[in-house]
Amino acid sequence: MFTFGDSWYLVLAAIIFAIGAVGLIVRRNPLVMFMCVELMLNAVNLTFVAFGNLLNDVGGQTVVFFVLVVAAAEVVVGLAIIVAIMRRRADANADDLSLLRG
């Protein structure tokens, strides 16, 4: 019977990470960019779990919890920023926020 080998998980994670990375660079809506960051984080989580299974090491799964916690904290801060921006402007376009241009 056909089984999903470990490499399948890794390939899936790579695809998801690539989608996230490209989306982050291409899209201008901060909310969408934010979701792309989440995609990348979870692709990494998937990699950790896959490697944990492959190497028979529980450490891989433990790290995922840390990543989730950090991601949750990041979501709180990031969403707060986005909400603050949305209150000031009608639309949310990341390229309009370029005060740091040299």
């Binding site: 960019m33 990341a94 040299g102």
Partner: protein, 664 residues
Amino acid sequence: MELIWLIPALPVAGFVLLAALGRRIGEPRAGAIATLAVAGSFVASVAIVFTLAQEPEGSRQITQTLWTWIPADSFQVSFGLLADELSLMMCLFITGVGALIHVYSIGYMKGDPEYARFFTYLNLFVASMLLLVLGDNLILTFLGWEGVGACSYLLISFWFTEPANATAGKKAFVTNRIGDFGYMLGTFLVFVTFGTIDFLQIDAAAPGVSSGTATVIALLFFLAATGKSAQLPLFVWLPDAMAGPTPVSALIHAATMVTSGVFLLTRLSPILEAAGWANDLIAWVGAVTALLAAGAAVAQNDIKKVLAYSTVSQLGFMFIAIGSQNYVGALFHMITHAFFKALLFLGAGAVIYSMAHEQDMRRYGQLRRYLPVTFATMFIGWLAISGIPPFSGFWSKDEILAGSFQVKPAGQLLWVVGIIAAVLTAFYMTRLMIMTFAGGTEKWRTAAPESLPEAPTGSDDHADGAAADHPAPAHGAHDDHHLTPDHTPREPSALMLGPLVVLAAFAAVAGLLNLPFADQLHFLDHWVEPVLEGQSGLPPAAVQWVLALVSIAGASFGVLFSWRVYQRHRVDPAKIEQPVFAHAWYIDDSYAEVVGGPGEAAFQGVADFDHNVVDGAVRGVGGVTVRAGEITRRLQTGFVRSYAFGIGAGALAVVVFAVVRMSL
């Protein structure tokens, strides 16, 4: 004697008081305070001299260190005063003649709107000069040296609203700065050579120094002296310094400033002794200066200019004496010159004052009838400077000439140049006296100002004080500045005549200080002897008698020839007063030509080099940085997405690098 500090402190106190409250103190009292300060300083000097005179010879020396001025590890400069025979002698006539000039100024500056400011500067001038002579090291003396320079600037351009006066002040200051650079280099070299700048330690160490080093040190300090004491090539400031009020001229020429160069070289006589040919150079520069300046004085029409060139010429005599290591002669002439030149200047001031501030001698005449006291005192001054015995100038000038006669190479030639200068001195001083006090009154009664050509460089000496003598209101009476045909000269007040009489008495008898006849009569000689090194003796008595007779004959010839020209009109004065004399041998003009033409171009070149190359390098560095910043700032787009791309690309690059490294 802990009171040495009083000598400079009193004029300093007067200066501080007048600078702070001068305007409030008001007209007569400000002058009185300034005069009292200098007179008190004179009393202190006299007291110290008497105390010292009771000490045995050789221990007449007091140093008083007030505080440490510049403590810098091994380089310690103390604010210390050195009172010995030399410096106290200087103090005596600086404060004595200075006090008389202060008294005179009370009368001369009457009614001047800046009365208090004048006396403020005058006190500072005297204080600086006292610091110069009393300083026990080269740096403290330099403080006085610069103070004198600054005060001369302030006083020469005292009436600074006239552009010519302001320019004259600047000229004096800048010319003196050239000499100051010699002073500074000399000080550095002394410190490197001896490891000290203290006069006593220098004197002690001087015999051990190599002849070459001593020569360079002597030349550097001689350069300094040519600036302050108005010798070739830096004498040009002094004739222009006549722009100041006349008492200032008297102070600069007689008591302070110009004597400082002679003093400095005398103070450093132990170095000069080892300096070899530098002494010959000093003597010859002095001789040439004496001759050229005496020639220039022959053709001046401004009464103060005659006296100014005369001072340059007399200072030349002092440098002849220093170069022939006849320091006593230099000091002797410095003292007698202080008396008779102060007298002549103050007398000229009295004439100018009574003639509505006209300075052109061609418009004077027959003044002896109007100004009998001024005439009588100036008559003594004239005899003294002309070298007619028994007046003071004869003795000192004769001692200098006798000393120069036996200088080793070409001393006789030096003596001949000196005699010629002395004859010219007698000639131009007689000319001054005849033009001013003899002749007819028609010169100012009839001649309109326009009919006379302007003097080469006319300096206009006028004060509002001129008006005080006249019934017209003091201010806004411009007619009083010009000599009118109905003008009647009047003798100035007793405040101005008193100093003249005192100075005339000293000018007559100051020769007693050092009569040549017997060793017991060499008072000055014995007094300063312990301070001096390498004093060379005079020729034998028989030779001295002959030289003295020749110099008397020369002086008489100068007087009589001048009498023939200007009183008897046997010779046309125009034949003698050549333009080359009137323009002082075109020395000043050629300086102006060179400095104004090629000199200015060269300095413009230096300025351009500084602006384009030095500043250009600095600006270039700045410009490159700015341009680099302009290029790199484009990287900071402000777009979050491009930053994210940068982070991603960077991470990828790190991974690629790591993988490639591992696979190698």
